[in-house]
Structure formats: structure tokens, C-alpha cells
């Protein structure tokens, strides 16, 4: 007995209370920008998305529709949905992806009474420790290498 294993090529970390559809879109976008999904790679169908992520098929449908509408996915006859050629994502856009995490960071910092300068210094320290450049690496349009 075999399950057909179509792997979802990105990971969704479900957080409670947030819009499901937004979380999946967000995870898909991150994966595309980080290079985990390249243009031409097949994107899971609505059915597979629904079954593998255990989400309502309507939600899965909304996700795919949105990604197609914003041009991140395109349908190729005979093959299905594939990742489209990605437009260059500016630094601002990519930073926006991390908006949620940054907001949480800021809130926690404020609660603990940490100043902006101390926060930036701490970020820099962590950046160094995990390797890679000091500055951001926007020129390639793909995500940096590095540990996740």
C-alpha cells in the first residue's frame, strides 16, 4: 500500500488565531523568495494543498487564486500550476515579509524596556554569529544562504 507523496515544497508553521489563508500565502511567498521554489517548479494543486496541510479546500483555493492573481503562480496547460518567473523583490518588499516577526520583536523589547539602539546592536551580534555578510544581500533577488 503506497501513499502518493507529493511534498509541499514549503513549510507552514501554523500560528493560532491568524488568518489561515494569509499564513499559507506568506509561507509560499517566503519559500519562493528564499529560492526553495524556483520558476517552473510545480506548485501543489488545491486538493493536495488541502490534504497535506489539513486545511479547508476553500482556503487552499483562495491561496492558489491569490498567488495566481498576484502573478507568483501561473497555469500551464497540461502541467498545472507552476511557479512563475519572480519579479525582483526589493529590499523593502522582502523586509515587509518579516513584518509580523519584527512587530513581535518590537513589542517584546518595549515590554522589557530595551532601547532601539540596544536592539539593533543585539541584531547585529546575532547576524555575525550566524555567518554571512554584515550588510544585506539584495542584489541577487534570491534569499541568502544561511541557516534557517
Amino acid at each position: 500500500m503506497c501513499y502518493s507523496t507529493v511534498v509541499i515544497p514549503f513549510h507552514v508553521h501554523f500560528r493560532p488565531g491568524l488568518s489561515l489563508y494569509e499564513q499559507v500565502v506568506y509561507a509560499a511567498k517566503k519559500a519562493m523568495i528564499a529560492g526553495q521554489m524556483r520558476p517552473g517548479d510545480p506548485f501543489p494543486s488545491v486538493r493536495v494543498l488541502s490534504k497535506e496541510l489539513k486545511i479547508n479546500p476553500n482556503t487552499a483555493h483562495k491561496v492558489v487564486t491569490y498567488l495566481i492573481t498576484t502573478g507568483l503562480l501561473e497555469t500551464r496547460p497540461g502541467i498545472g500550476t507552476v511557479v512563475a518567473v519572480l519579479p525582483e523583490a526589493s529590499a523593502a518588499e522582502r523586509t515587509q515579509l518579516l513584518g509580523q516577526e519584527i512587530e513581535e520583536l518590537v513589542v517584546e523589547a518595549k515590554k522589557l524596556g530595551i532601547s532601539l539602539e540596544a536592539m539593533v546592536a543585539s541584531i547585529g551580534a546575532h547576524w555575525k554569529r550566524l555567518g554571512g555578510d554584515d550588510k544585506d544581500t539584495d542584489d541577487s533577488g534570491r534569499g541568502g544562504r544561511g541557516k534557517r
Binding site: K54, P57, N58
Partner: protein
């Protein structure tokens, strides 16, 4: 506090109840239930034990009748549900007793002729997906395996309405996963009503959720809308604030200790809620709004229900 926000019905409703009341000898199980399940929905019916979920489902399935009120299923009065109507309804319940003496394959073969829409291919596929042992008697199966067999026997004829009453209870995570997958495969062609305590499982599945408590729906709405309006609020003050006696009705379970006030906002709107906080409690050092899982929402509802009772 009770909120019932009903989305306007644009598609046909598969299930509708009108002031459904059910009284048993000592218990009033349903006290005027007004439930609406739109076509194509995956409707999660949640609520504390004894809220009346199983009673409501049994009335919908015409297993027994209501004391008063009306229920409509697939456009038909629920009291007329029998014989032919049941060929398009699949029902699985943890407390239904299957004929234990029969083998799995004989059970499926026995049910086949009852359903004109029975799909042999789909049956085989379900048997494979759920790994059903065809040659074992139902009584020899584990609980999870029996539920899977029941589910297979309720999905193989492509019912338009699938009703599941506590299908996950007592089942291991793998079996739950398998059940959910089989359900989701049918979700595009069917409407699903699922009553469950396993909120983590259904949180991502459900398109609609209704909270039943003491025989009444305290809310019934689309999942995204529900998720949008509930927040855990934590406010840190410089000094302990004066908490006024009259607070907005949508604030639940308010507690204050030293300089921190916590409550649950059930009608969250960033601007309005922030303004209310400022007006009623004064300026704060920090205010955090944290979205809540379905489980947290349930607990908040249940505890506030208990407090109010």
C-alpha cells in the same frame, strides 16, 4: 455574553433549524437552536460536554424527534428523513453500534445495494487509504479501525451531506490524520457537519464554527471572522489602574494584578478597542493584542459561560 453573527445566506442552506427544542425527562438538552449550515461548508459544532451537540445531530438525522421546533435537512423536514433520503447522507458517530459479527468486506458488500450512488472504485480507494483489513470481523477491530470502517462505509456513495459526531474521540494521531484526509477528499462535493472536542484538528478544516452551550448557539460564523475578532489583550501600566465597574460587554474574563490588566476582547477592532482601553483605563506603557487559537476561544467561552451561569 452571546453573539450570533450570521453571514447572509447566498447559497442554499443544507441544514437549517428553527427554534429547535428538546426536553428529556430531567434535562433540557436544546433550548431554541437556530442553526444554519450553508452548502459546501465544513461546519464545526463545538461546545462543552452536555451542550446538546449530539442531541442536535440526532434530531437532524431523525434518530429521534424534537420536542418542538423545526429542522430542515437537504430541503426536507428532518422528520421525513428515512429510506431514500438517507442515500445522500453519510453519518458516523462514536456512539453508533455497528453489527459486530460481520466482516469488514461483508459489511461494505451488505451496504452497497442500499445506495444507488455507491462507487466501487471509491470504495476500493477508501479501503486502501484507510488500510482496512477486509477479512476481520468488526468486533475484532480496534476502536480507531472501526471508526475508519464506518467512515469508509459512509463516504463510498458520495453523500451530499456528511455528518460526523465526535469522529476523533479516542483515536491516535495517525488515524485522525487518515480520517481528515478522507474527509477532505469529499469536501469539494459535499457539505460536512462535524461535532468535535478536538479543536486543534478542526481549526484549520472548518469554514464555519458554531459554539453550542446549554442548548443554544452562542455564536455561529465563518472561521476567519471568528478568528479576527478574538484577541487576548495584555496591558502593562506604570501604576495599577482604576478599573471602572462598567466595562464593554465584549470584554471577557478581565483580571488585573499590580500593573497588568488582562482580558479577552471578543469584538476586536484595533482602533476602537485601543480607544476604549485609553478611555476606560487610561494611558498604558504597552498594549499587546494576541490572536487566539480555537482552543483558547473555546476555553474563554466556556469559562465565561460557567461564570455567568
Amino acid at each position: 455574553m452571546s453573539t450570533i453573527t450570521m453571514k447572509p445566506v447566498t447559497m442554499s442552506t443544507v441544514i437549517r433549524t428553527d427554534n429547535l427544542v428538546k426536553k428529556f425527562r430531567r434535562v433540557d438538552a436544546l433550548n431554541g437552536l437556530n442553526l444554519e449550515v450553508p452548502q459546501g461548508a465544513i461546519y464545526a459544532l463545538v461546545g462543552p460536554n452536555g451542550a446538546g451537540k449530539t442531541t442536535a445531530i440526532k434530531i437532524l438525522m431523525n434518530i429521534f424527534g424534537a420536542t418542538s421546533g423545526r429542522a430542515e435537512v437537504l430541503g426536507m423536514d428532518s422528520k421525513q428523513i428515512s429510506g431514500k433520503a438517507l442515500t445522500s447522507i453519510g453519518y458516523v458517530s462514536e456512539n453508533q453500534q455497528l453489527p459486530n459479527w460481520v466482516r469488514v468486506d461483508a459489511f461494505l458488500a451488505y451496504l452497497r445495494p442500499f445506495y444507488p450512488s455507491w462507487d466501487r472504485e471509491l470504495e476500493n480507494q477508501l479501503v486502501r487509504q484507510l488500510a482496512l483489513p477486509l477479512d476481520r470481523k468488526l468486533s475484532d477491530l480496534s476502536r480507531g479501525m472501526r471508526m475508519k470502517a464506518a467512515l469508509a462505509s459512509a463516504l463510498a456513495y458520495r453523500p451530499r451531506l456528511i455528518v460526523l459526531d465526535e469522529p476523533f474521540s479516542g483515536l491516535d494521531p495517525l488515524v485522525r490524520d487518515e480520517l481528515i484526509e478522507s474527509m477532505l477528499e469529499r469536501a469539494e462535493e459535499a457539505t460536512i457537519l462535524i461535532s468535535s472536542h478536538d479543536l486543534a484538528e478542526i481549526e484549520n478544516l472548518a469554514s464555519h464554527v458554531g459554539y453550542l452551550d446549554q442548548g443554544r448557539l452562542r455564536f455561529s460564523e465563518e472561521m476567519p471572522a471568528l478568528v479576527e475578532r478574538f484577541r487576548e489583550v495584555e496591558i502593562t501600566f506604570d501604576a495599577a489602574p482604576a478599573v471602572p465597574g462598567k466595562l464593554p460587554a465584549s470584554w471577557m474574563r478581565l483580571s488585573s494584578s499590580a500593573a497588568v490588566v488582562q482580558f479577552i476582547e471578543s469584538q476586536f477592532d484595533e482602533q476602537r478597542t485601543s480607544a476604549e482601553i485609553r478611555n476606560l483605563l487610561g494611558e498604558a506603557r504597552s498594549v499587546t493584542f494576541t490572536p487566539m487559537s480555537l482552543r483558547s476561544i473555546f476555553l474563554a467561552m466556556a469559562k465565561s459561560g460557567r461564570d455567568a451561569a
